[in-house]
């Protein structure tokens, strides 16, 4: 084996000896331990993804109901103000935590990390299994709150006290808020078990030759997001515990002396702002916990389907790490008009706008990967392009809201709703769609139906843009968010109601298109075109498994050995337009120059 030096990382082509012996896996002895209480990360990943999608459907239905109310206020008697607030609260919490976080980290993380780094499984399979079952329990507790007396909490997904635990808020004094907080606590416990697995697997169980700087960006994104989640979720954990104490034990962590429905409440001395700081210390990193896996995955989708190396790989890795670190010192940009000391505004506006620089670098590098590429407009690529459009749009409106004084008129208006849906709703979900179309063949051995995929793409992309782009302008008028009806308000023109009705109609259509997608997922398992092991001719490790779908232990008898990064596409002199990571340098004419 030659030791040709690489122009990319300055290291010789290094394949170290195996330091850790190949592990003996737990082998399931029964159907139950194989498919239900499974310790195989691939099964756990599918379990996570299925559960997240199921609860995501609930969130989708909730969004339909709230859009019906906003588009045609007064038409639907069965939607009361209380229910409207319960819908928006549960929609937000489900989408952010139980769908996006769980799907990216629990779903894609579990399925892809071992395969992409060349491991047989996660390092702690039993704990990994527990992680899923505790997540499922958290989801069930959340669902239970719909059936609780008084219904689920309607405090908004931010759960700001004091109102979250007072009688003026739906579910505020009943079991709604308690079940919400308990569910979050369970989710965090479950996530921590999975998260430690993902991090340690990446650090300890990579195949020989899989240096950190050879890992696909998908793994970098999920890895960094998981580290962040392990640091950020504890802040939410303690705020949930403290709020439960305030409610059940009469403590006053977040509760000052206040009047509740004309009576002096039994609290004194607490700080509502303390909760907001804790919440956003979690909440802002949470945005990137969702975004970084999307960044990573979309980088790989673009590279594979444009048949070109990802542009500026090292910059991309560092941008992910720097964004992850910076996201811990920007949280109070959610609180510019919260009443916190206004001098904080200078600091948090500066850090927030600095984060735009590494984020912009990522956008440039995606574009420069397309540039001079050989672009195949497959469904995964289409979703990747749609991600860039919506992410750039939503990222740029972040420059409005992050720039403290511009945020003053816009905060708490529909502009904010439009911004965060575009940047952390629509954009990451497009990546999820792209990723499913991309990896479905590896998971099932069959392709998803292309025609259904095209319809799903066009309706989702154009529809989502038509929903959320005009919505910014409602916020510019001054339409506040979290209003179940606008009512007669002097500064809101009649035409705003027309726009709201339009948005509702488009939202119903986009929602319906997701049913087609789910049908495609089910239909193609049996009727999809057989894909073979590597339909996209991709270079990364998961496409080089001996079996498709990968078997128990992933790699057959011997673990793979990695000789190159995951982006050797159209290497000059190479016979094929891609070189898998497992191909040694001596096996290709192109090695001398390009790894």
């Amino acid at each position: 084996m030659t030791t040709a030096s690489s122009p990319l990382n300055g290291f010789p082509d290094r394949v170290p000896p195996a330091e850790v012996e190949d592990v003996e896996l737990y082998h399931a002895k029964s159907w139950i331990t194989r498919w239900v209480f499974s310790q195989d990360a691939k099964i756990i990943g599918i379990q996570y993804a299925t559960t997240a999608t199921a609860i995501g459907l609930v969130a989708l239905v909730l969004s339909w109901l709230m859009r019906l109310q906003l588009g045609f206020p007064g038409t639907f008697d069965f939607i009361t103000p209380a229910e409207y607030y319960q819908f928006i609260t549960m929609h937000g919490m489900i989408m952010v935590v139980y769908l996006l976080t769980a799907l990216f980290l629990g779903g894609f993380g579990n399925y892809l990390i071992p395969l992409m780094v060349g491991a047989r499984d996660m390092v702690f399979p039993y704990m990994n299994m527990l992680s899923y079952w505790i997540y499922l329990l958290a989801v069930l507790v959340l669902v239970a709150s719909f059936f609780a007396p008084g219904g689920p909490t309607g405090a908004g997904w931010t759960l700001y006290p004091p109102q979250a635990i007072l009688s003026g808020t739906p579910g505020g004094t009943g079991s709604g808020i308690i079940l919400m907080l308990v569910s979050l606590i369970l989710f965090i416990i479950g996530f921590t078990m999975g998260g430690l697995n993902y991090v340690i697997t990446v650090l300890q169980a990579r195949a020989r030759g899989m240096t950190l700087m050879r890992m696909p960006l998908t793994v970098w994104g999920i890895f960094t997001a998981t580290v962040m989640a392990l640091l950020a979720f504890p802040a939410l954990f303690v705020s949930a515990v403290m709020m439960l104490f305030d409610m059940l034990l009469g403590t006053s962590f977040f509760m000052p002396a206040l009047v509740e429905m004309g009576e002096l409440a039994k609290h004194e001395g607490g700080s509502p702002l303390l909760f907001q700081h804790l919440f956003w210390f979690f909440g802002h990193p949470e945005v990137y916990i969702v975004a970084l896996p999307a960044f990573g995955i979309v980088s790989d989708l673009i590279s594979v389907h444009a048949r070109r190396n990802i542009f500026g790989y090292r910059m991309m890795v560092w941008a992910i790490v720097i964004i992850g670190a910076l996201s811990f010192i920007v949280w109070a940009h959610h609180m510019y008009v919260s009443g916190m000391n206004p001098w904080f505004g200078f600091f948090f506006a500066t850090t927030t706008l600095i984060i735009a620089v590494p984020t912009a670098i990522k956008v440039y590098n995606w574009l420069l990967t397309l540039w001079r590429g050989d672009i195949h407009l497959t469904v995964p690529m289409l979703f990747a392009l749609a991600f860039i459009v919506t992410f750039v749009n939503g990222g740029l409106t972040g420059l409005f809201l992050g720039n403290v004084v511009v945020d003053v008129p816009l905060s708490d208006t529909m502009f904010v709703v439009a911004h965060f849906h575009m940047v952390m709703g629509v954009a990451p979900i497009f990546v999820i769609f792209g990723a499913i179309y991309h990896w479905y063949p590896k998971i099932t051995g069959r392709m998803l139906n292309e025609a259904m995929g095209q319809i799903h793409f066009w309706v989702s992309f154009l529809g989502a843009y038509l929903i959320f782009f005009p919505m910014h302008y409602l916020g510019l008028i001054g339409v506040p968010r979290r209003y179940h009806e606008l009512g007669p308000t002097s500064f809101i023109p009649e035409s705003a109601a027309t726009l709201n009705a339009f948005i509702t109609i488009v939202a119903l259509i986009v929602g319906a298109a997701q049913m087609l997608f789910l049908f495609n997922l089910a239909w193609s398992i049996r009727h999809g075109r057989p894909s073979g092991p590597n339909p996209w001719r991709a270079a990364s490790l998961e496409w080089q498994t001996p079996e498709t779908p990968p078997g128990h232990g992933n790699w057959g008898d011997t673990l793979p050995v990695v000789h190159r990064w995951a982006y050797d596409y159209n290497v000059p002199g190479a016979a094929e337009d891609f070189i898998p990571q497992t191909v040694p340098p001596s096996d290709t004419a192109a090695t001398g120059e390009h790894r």
């Binding site: 002396a257 429905m261 706008l353 050989d374 208006t413 982006y567």
Partner: protein, 266 residues
């Protein structure tokens, strides 16, 4: 072809919507034109970047489409290009941040001559309190709130004896005079928001917050609540009337009922 065309349409359509749609901010009625200016600068910079990026993407999708005989070029990185782009982005971000921070400094620095009014949020209505002839608002304590003392004014503080509490009327303010709006809530978070004034700030039980502005246009303005405060959030409306100085004095003089109320609670 279709994909590239749609991308162009998205870019051009977004710009056209921005200029042609009827939905735009309310005509301003305060001194915070600076905020509007910063917003316009932000629209221009981000609009140009957005259009450039989407059009470049459309061009790439068309020019580098897969076709027989076409290959991608292998180019792992390009240090100069990456540094150049990073530098340009940093400059653009600084161009947004600098004016933003300057205007923020104005926003949080209340002029010495500003008079003070208090707005108190409660589920789900607004009350106001104006200082009497002494020009000072008396101490308050939420534990004193009751039917006779809706804002919890401390009867033992002489400064509060002449305070004027407005319960069932719009807040009136004189045009052209800077006013510091002292914000309190007695139950949950609220946010006193008049879009025409541009300024807003949360009201937090247990704290006193503020913003300031100078009314620049007479008229009747609607105040809404901009922080989720429970079931009645969407119907929590108030009014602010900006009037000429003489009219304001006449209104103030007519508010004697509030004064009596505070005195009676003593």
């Amino acid at each position: 072809m279709i994909v590239a065309a749609v991308l162009v349409l998205v870019a051009v359509g977004s710009v056209a919507f921005h200029f042609l749609s009827p939905w735009w901010w309310t005509p301003i009625a305060s001194n915070w034109g600076y905020i509007d200016d910063t917003l316009i600068v932000t629209f221009w910079i981000t609009g140009i970047v957005f259009t450039a990026i989407i059009l470049f993407m459309a061009w790439c999708v068309w020019t580098y489409r897969a076709r027989p005989g076409h290959r991608a070029s292998f180019e792992p990185e390009n240090r100069r290009l990456e540094l150049w782009l990073t530098g340009a982005t940093t400059l653009g971000v600084a161009a947004l941040l600098a004016p933003g921070l300057i205007v923020w400094n104005q926003f949080i620095t209340v002029p010495a001559e500003a008079t003070e009014v208090e707005v108190v949020g409660r589920q789900w209505l607004w009350n106001y309190r104006l200082p009497g002839p002494d020009g000072v608002l008396g101490r308050v304590d939420v534990r004193l709130v009751g039917p006779e003392n809706p804002l919890g004014v401390d009867p033992n503080d002489p400064a509060g004896a002449d305070d004027i509490v407005v319960e069932n009327d719009d807040l009136h303010l004189p045009i052209g005079k800077p006013v510091r709006v002292r914000l309190r809530a007695i139950d949950v978070l609220h946010n006193f928001y008049v879009p025409e004034f541009r300024a807003k700030m949360d009201m937090v039980p247990g704290m006193v917050t503020y913003f300031w502005f100078t009314p620049t246009r007479t008229g009747q303005f609607t105040a809404v609540c901009a922080e989720l405060c429970g079931l009645g959030h969407a119907v929590m409306r108030g009014g602010v009337v900006i009037v000429e100085e003489e009219e304001y004095r006449a209104w103030l003089a007519a508010q004697a009922g509030g004064t009596r109320r505070v005195a009676a609670a003593r």
